[in-house]
Symmetry: C2
Subunit: 341 residues, 2 copies
């Protein structure tokens, strides 16, 4: 049923007034003011025109417009450690009194002792053990509350700000610009889906159903009162890294995205999968080359490579060979954080 | 960036004309003409008003409006056999020449011999073996083509119509009515996600990203030319039945639906999970009690129970105890199929 409107009267006039204001604002507005003019900014604008202008040969119907964004190092700071790992380590310390055996068992022992050298050498297996110990065994609601409480007080060591303020303003603009052009914007993160869902809507404008991430299985069971409850058993259902990204994009969305944004080898397959779809595409990689305003790590300009966010030389070469756009934080971004002048 | 409009001129007049037509049409239209007046129809209309009228104490913001629909027996015919099983059995017969060993191996032997008595006794393990043999080992695109080709020619035995015409018109109306009121409508089926995605948009108006189903894992790999390809390995990732429904709804949507529609014990947990959410809800179960226009099976009115679509007495009792609405196909539906007068 169509929505019922009242018969228009003075409202029509108000409507026209808003209309003219919109036209004026529109003519003047730059959708990406935190970007410097250059190839990267132009690539985004060209892509939007190529896929949303009805006269374009590569026009994409509205319900087929999907864009996917990696999170760590792409939409917010990942250096020197993923935020979710900081959360997990804090939680190990918090839970330690209930687990006296952790004081003599790795990887927990090193976390409790804050042994940075040892923690820097943690293997994927170590990290999985920590995730299972800190992220499972509670209801989904209890986990969300835990994350929200932590995010409300935790601050990063360099800027002394809540982690949810370490978002890249230029990428927020891209998210908004794409949504204003009827794109559905998804966060597609190697981080935990439920972790990101707790803040994705206020921070990115991305609703929970558009967050894809590594996921603990949910288990529907009944409590003592016979009420259904979704628990988090110690089981990883989705590992949303590397090949996991196109696999999970297909599971959730069922098609190639038109645009994808990443910053490391963990995003390579997502960008390949995006490019393999029909029509016009946009594949972008954020290069961290601004030690002054953020961090510098990666292959370009002789910058040192690090373990975190491996923007390898091979990835750089693949980007160049395939026409993916490399975003230089130093040169392409006028502003990095909303609070940074 | 806001969309750019031209300065309105004659367009304003055209707009007003459309406006008045909409007001007139709106005053006369019944959103659910294939439904007889009664408690079931009224429950749907009341629910929509309760959750979309801004003055309602149970108003739900637009981006939180989710409704989930089981498919087999809820939105289309499931009797005497699930459509996807007919597809799978047809495919066993088609593949048989390449698998001479199937002629002496169950469950394939019975399918090839069309031994209905034996097929009726297939266990879940038998059916899984058939699904793995017929639904995996190809790229996701090759599988979609296979399903589309089959659906284009296969016809059901009773009405001699394509399966995609065996959709319940009253449920199509509910899907449209909810979408017109800004609900996102999801198919949440025990059937295969990829199977349903091939026709969900033209048939139900449901895009691929809003189809949740049992799922074969996708596997991203590279072909001989180094091109990425998503294959279907012999691995079931999601079993979207019973408890799997709330688990997968949580995985995909991240919240309780406001409304859920089912017809069997496989939907019980989905309806419980819907009711456990905040605000106003709608939980509905389709009762198949119309042998003349469709089929009759289930506990009410002394109808015989069958193995397919177990609307058990216990489910009927739970529905009554919890205030779920049971839809009688015989009494609540004026019309069942679009082509049936």
């Amino acid at each position: 049923m169509k929505k019922c409107f009242r018969i228009p009267s003075y409202r029509s006039l108000a409507f026209l007034a808003v209309f003219f204001c919109a036209v004026l604002a529109c003519a003047q507005s730059d959708p990406l003011p935190a970007w410097n003019n250059g190839a990267a900014k132009q690539a985004i604008i060209n892509f939007v025109h190529a896929t949303t202008d009805p006269s374009s040969p590569t026009f994409v119907p509205i319900d087929r417009r999907f864009a996917t964004f990696d999170q760590d190092g792409t939409t917010w700071v990942e250096h020197p450690m993923y935020t979710q790992l900081v959360f997990a380590f804090d939680r190990v310390v918090q839970l330690a009194p209930q687990h006296p055996e952790w004081r003599t068992t790795e990887p927990f022992k090193s976390v409790i002792a804050n042994d940075q050298a040892s923690m820097a050498k943690f293997t994927t297996k170590d990290l999985e053990a920590i995730i299972i110990a800190t992220h499972t065994g509670m209801s989904v609601e209890a986990f969300q509350t835990m994350v929200r409480d932590w995010l409300a007080t935790a601050k990063d060591a360099r800027w002394h700000r809540p982690y949810t303020q370490l978002i890249y303003e230029p990428m927020l603009e891209v998210l908004k610009y794409l949504r204003a052009n009827s794109y559905k914007t998804y966060i597609v993160t190697g981080g935990g889906q439920e972790f990101v869902r707790t803040y994705a809507e206020p921070v990115y404008g991305v609703a929970p159903d558009q967050v894809i991430g590594s996921a603990i299985a949910a288990q529907y069971t009944y409590d003592a009162d016979g009420q259904g409850v979704l628990m988090r058993p110690p089981k990883i259902l989705l590992d949303n890294n590397f090949s996991g990204k196109p696999e999970d994009i297909y599971l959730f969305i069922g098609q190639h995205p038109q645009a994808a944004f990443g910053n490391s080898t963990g995003d390579q397959q997502m960008l390949e999968y995006t490019q393999a779809g029909p029509g016009a595409h946009l594949m972008m990689l954020v290069l961290h080359d601004d030690a002054q305003r953020e961090y510098a790590y990666g292959p370009a300009d002789g910058l040192p490579q690090t373990e975190v966010g491996t923007f390898t030389q091979a990835l750089y070469d693949e980007a160049k060979a395939k026409g993916w756009t490399v975003i230089s934080m130093k040169h392409d971004w006028k502003q990095i954080f909303s609070w940074q002048k």
